[in-house]
């Protein structure tokens, strides 16, 4: 029994809520037709899966991409995995031709670490560490309110013994541990919620009192003689998190959704509930960005090598990793291919995109979809070969009009360095007043933006 959680609901439900419910409400001022300022600060939400998608690779037909480049619509999306987002086709930007900048350092072991960093590996082992920060960290570091870390979430079973959390890096070799429990992530955001003034004041005063003990102790630790750099960094990081209790959110989820979140504490570690957990994380991500708590959110769905058994058409399937390789076990190398497994992989791609659609819907309901961008991608390109080429890139939202909408474009020759630079620039990262063009490692891939993605250049 989690006494802490019950206390939370008591203070939330027992209080006459001072915060509005966001879901379904337009609690924002309507934007004027000519307004440049967005209601929500530009944001980026990254949703990353593993094992690649079922796309054309010479041996298999393509079932992922729209049938032709150009304007998106039912005609070109029908029958393809991206059809799951056809209802939002006018707000999508799909980009082909983007490869991993770093090609020679593994697939599962590297892909999840490389996708948001475009950095080479600096360690061995099944889940590599890389040489630099990820884009979500960069956005948070430069654009978030002071001391607020970008949100880092994970949906799926705990595979830390092999390739579990991969995505977000604070710096070279410094992988960030994601929040897995949606309820804990929500509690972190809610902080101070509603309540009568006296109760709120008590909570604020208790936190301040605790901080009055903790902060000087951390400062004294930092003042110790001959402290190593890593000890110092560790304590500095801790000190930056010590702050007063404050109201972070501009609204709350409904009571039903909060109950869903609490219930997820019992199952968020279960592989079979991965997409349920992911859907909750996406609600939290949307809430965080519209509240201005974080300008970036990274959501990893499934372990870096995703061996989750997903339920497809009501049936629990084999490990997704095996399906993606079109095999039934690690030593099954029947190279004859499997149309049945191709279709299963395609069905799983659809399920993933349908879950992502929930995020797009929610951002749209909040009136925030045009203010930022949500990226859906994968740490690999295709399934059977685990190629690091032609990564699936599906973006929703224009980031305030910067990104083209309603288009499927080709970016041949581009790498994730270019993709990440473009997204970073779109949401507000600047270098000497100009766009960010060289995110990632200078020795891998070319710098520059993907012009085919850009509608307007506010830099």
């Amino acid at each position: 029994m989690r006494l802490g959680r019950r206390l939370f609901l008591k203070s939330a439900a027992g209080a006459c809520v001072g915060l509005p419910l966001l879901h379904g409400l337009r609690s924002f001022a309507p934007r004027s037709a000519s307004a440049q300022a967005s209601v929500t600060d530009p944001f980026a939400i990254f949703v990353v899966h593993g094992n690649g998608v079922q796309q054309g690779n010479g041996a298999e037909p393509d079932r992922f991409w729209p049938t032709e480049h150009g304007a998106l619509g039912p005609a070109t999306m029908s029958g393809r995995a991206v059809e799951e987002l056809a209802g939002h086709s006018g707000r999508l930007l799909i980009v082909s031709g983007v490869d991993h900048a770093v090609q020679d350092q593994g697939d599962h072991d590297y892909g999840g670490a490389g996708i948001l960093t475009a950095q080479p590996a600096v360690s061995d082992g099944p889940n590599k560490l890389v040489a630099g920060e990820s884009l979500d960290w960069r956005i948070g570091r430069e654009l978030n309110p002071p001391g607020r870390e970008p949100l880092n979430l994970y949906a799926g079973f705990n595979n830390e013994g092999w390739i579990g959390a991969t995505l977000s890096f604070r710096g070279p070799g410094e992988r960030r541990a994601p929040q897995r429990d949606p309820f804990a992530a929500y509690q972190d955001l809610v902080g101070l919620v509603g309540g009568d003034p006296a109760a709120r004041e008590l909570l604020i005063a208790r936190r301040r009192s605790v901080n009055d003990l903790v902060r000087p102790q951390l400062e004294r630790l930092l003042g110790q003689p001959r402290l190593s750099r890593s000890d110092r960094q560790r304590i500095d990081l801790h000190l930056s998190q010590v702050r007063d209790l404050e109201q972070l959110l501009i609204g709350r989820l409904t009571a039903e959704e909060e109950a869903e979140l609490e219930a997820s504490s019992d199952y968020f570690n279960e592989g079979e509930r991965t997409l349920d957990t992911a859907a909750l994380h996406m609600k939290i991500a949307a809430l965080a960005v519209v509240s201005g708590v974080s300008r970036a959110v990274a959501i990893q769905v499934g372990p870096g090598q995703d061996n989750t058994p997903y339920v497809v058409d009501g049936q629990l399937r084999d490990s997704f990793h095996y399906i993606s390789h079109r095999v039934r076990s690690d030593s099954d190398t029947d190279a004859g291919g499997s149309p049945e497994m191709e279709l299963l992989h395609h069905a799983i791609d659809r399920m993933f995109l349908a879950t992502f659609r929930g995020l797009v819907d929610r951002l749209d309901e909040y009136g925030a979809l045009d203010d930022g961008v949500a990226l859906w991608t994968n740490n690999l390109g295709d399934g059977p070969n685990h190629s690091r080429r032609n990564l699936p890139v599906v973006l929703a939202g224009s980031a305030g009009g910067v990104l083209r909408q309603g288009q499927y474009v080709a970016a041949d020759g581009a790498t994730n360095r270019n993709l990440l630079s473009t997204i970073g620039s779109a949401v507000g990262l600047r270098v000497n007043g100009g766009p960010l063009v060289d995110f990632g490692h200078p020795d891998y891939g070319e710098s520059g933006l993907i012009q085919a993605m850009i509608a307007s250049e506010p830099w």
């Binding site: 070799g173 410094e174 804990a184 890593s230 039934r328 030593s331």
Partner: protein, 513 residues
């Protein structure tokens, strides 16, 4: 062997180490003298894997604090303070009914794991005195205690193990008694010192090797040491991955409950051999003792137990030690076949500390179809490409071939699909090629080797220190590796030797960058 007589092999290390989640759970239980764990560490977000080859869950450099974890600690502290304050008997145990000064000095000394300074005492008094205003729902003393507990439980002096001593002599910083007490308790018990260990810190006996040895001997008799011994082997030998894999096919290729049974047997084996029987590495690899249920008895070819579980002596020729037990044999299977590759990799990397590079990036594209009459032939063909042979033919596969007498179900077999088993191989141990046939001969070669003993000692050293081995410690590892081999050093004696060595009771003057 004289651990104190050799040159100090102290290595650079960090001085501020966060408690791992299992350490936090255990520390909290012991801080309040609770009979059961609180379970509150479930709410602490899991740490990310550190990367690299470090195999244990308390890699010091990877235990960081971020926003999510800090919020989780704050919630857990409030939760726990509520629980404790509601239990009069717990408040009595921690001396909360005493006057403020007595309670604070005693509680803080245990929570901070050393006597608090005057400045720290003033901070604690201030927090205590603020309690009644912050908890109007509680009576005077209860309110003070309630708030004090919450503050202490998130104090960095509680959440981190801090080593403050910096005075060096000849490049070596001798730790004070409190620091040694903490190192000992977190190494051997995964928790805070107990009152006896604190007393030893206070009376100065930990500044002498004999004092440290005496405490270590006492601590190794405690159930918490048995948990650590099991945890070390579980993490080193990949037990949770193996059990997880078996659980995936329970009900098909293995009966329901097989994963738990195999895991329980492995844990029992290690505790029995190391702690009950005072064994060492050789015993872990050769002992035929087992604790079987009906399924395991069937796998091992012995009569079923009369009760749910029974201790047995298996045939030492066919069931020597950990490498012939169900968790290893059944856990390393793929698609109903013995997993030669991963059994082999396990021996090379986990028992011999050999470095095997990962497969080249495109190694698994265009593999030849696995032809062959036997599992051995198929795996040989599968890994016969030029790109693969370098590691597979010379290092990985040979270690795996010796296990072919044990099927994917763990049972002994003389045939594979009607063809006679060939369990012979030429393996690389101590940089020499050795011909072996079957697990018995492999085990003999391992326990006679320098490499296996040095590897085992090295892993314990890394475990005890929460970091990778440094160059400075290689002589230490070699010295105790030789003792382990030549003098059949028991694991207990090895641990006592490692924690009384200067590398444990002192720190290098040079800090980690």
């Amino acid at each position: 062997m004289g651990p104190g007589h050799a040159a100090p092999t102290v290595a650079p290390s960090g001085r501020i180490t966060r408690l791992s989640h299992p350490q936090w759970e255990r520390t909290v239980q012991d801080l309040f003298y609770l009979d059961e764990p609180t379970g509150l560490s479930d709410g602490l977000r899991p740490d990310a894997r550190s990367g690299g080859d470090y195999r244990f869950d308390h890699h010091a450099e990877s235990l960081t604090m971020d926003e999510g974890l800090w919020n989780a600690y704050l919630r857990a502290a409030a939760d726990l303070a509520d629980r404790v304050t509601a239990r009069a008997e717990v408040l009595d145990r921690i001396g909360a009914r005493a006057d403020r000064a007595t309670f604070l000095s005693r509680f803080a000394a245990r929570a901070y794991r050393r006597p608090p300074s005057e400045e720290e005492m003033r901070e604690l008094e201030a927090a205590y005195d603020r309690g009644p205003a912050l908890h109007p729902e509680l009576d005077g003393t209860a309110a003070s205690v309630r708030h004090l507990l919450e503050a202490v439980l998130v104090s960095p002096l509680f959440l981190y193990r801090v080593e403050r001593t910096v005075e060096a002599d000849g490049g070596v910083v001798a730790l004070d008694g409190w620091e040694i007490a903490s190192r000992l308790s977190y190494a051997l018990w995964n928790t805070m010192p107990d009152d006896e260990l604190f007393a030893a810190a206070e009376d100065g006996s930990l500044s002498a090797e004999a004092g440290v040895a005496a405490q270590a001997r006492r601590m190794l008799r405690d159930p918490r040491a048995a948990e650590v011994v099991e945890r070390f082997h579980a993490q080193l030998l990949q037990w949770s991955e193996l059990a997880g894999h078996i659980a995936d096919f329970e009900g098909e290729r293995a009966p329901v409950g097989a994963a738990a049974a195999a895991r329980a047997e492995a844990g029992w084996f290690v505790r029995e051999v190391v702690l009950a029987r005072g064994g060492g590495l050789a015993d872990l690899l050769t002992s035929p003792v087992a604790r079987v249920d009906a399924w395991l008895a069937d796998v091992y070819g012995v009569a079923p137990p009369a009760d749910e579980n029974e201790t047995r002596e298996l045939d030492p020729a066919s069931r020597p030690g950990l490498l012939t037990r169900a968790l290893f044999l059944v856990g390393f299977e793929r698609g109903g076949q013995p997993d030669i590759i991963h059994r082999g990799l396990f021996v090379a990397t986990r028992l011999l500390c050999q470095t095997v590079p990962p497969p080249p990036p495109d190694a698994t594209a265009g593999l030849p179809p696995p032809e062959g009459d036997t599992n051995r032939e198929r795996i040989t063909n599968l890994t016969s490409a030029e790109l693969c042979r370098g590691c597979h033919a010379t290092v990985i596969n040979p270690f795996g071939f010796v296990f072919e007498h044990y099927g994917a179900d763990g049972r002994y077999r003389d045939e594979d699909d009607g063809f006679p088993i060939d369990a012979s191989a030429v393996v690389q141990i101590d940089r020499q090629l050795t011909e072996v046939s079957g697990v018995g001969q492999l085990v003999d070669a391992l326990i006679e080797s320098r490499e296996a003993h040095a590897c085992y000692v090295r892993q314990w050293q890394e475990y005890l220190h929460g970091r990778e081995l440094s160059e400075a410690e290689m002589p230490l590892v070699e010295r105790f590796g030789e003792a382990s081999r030549d003098e059949a050093l028991s694991v207990e004696e090895l641990l006592i030797a490692l924690v009384t060595d200067r590398s444990f009771t002192a720190r290098s003057d040079e800090e980690l960058p």
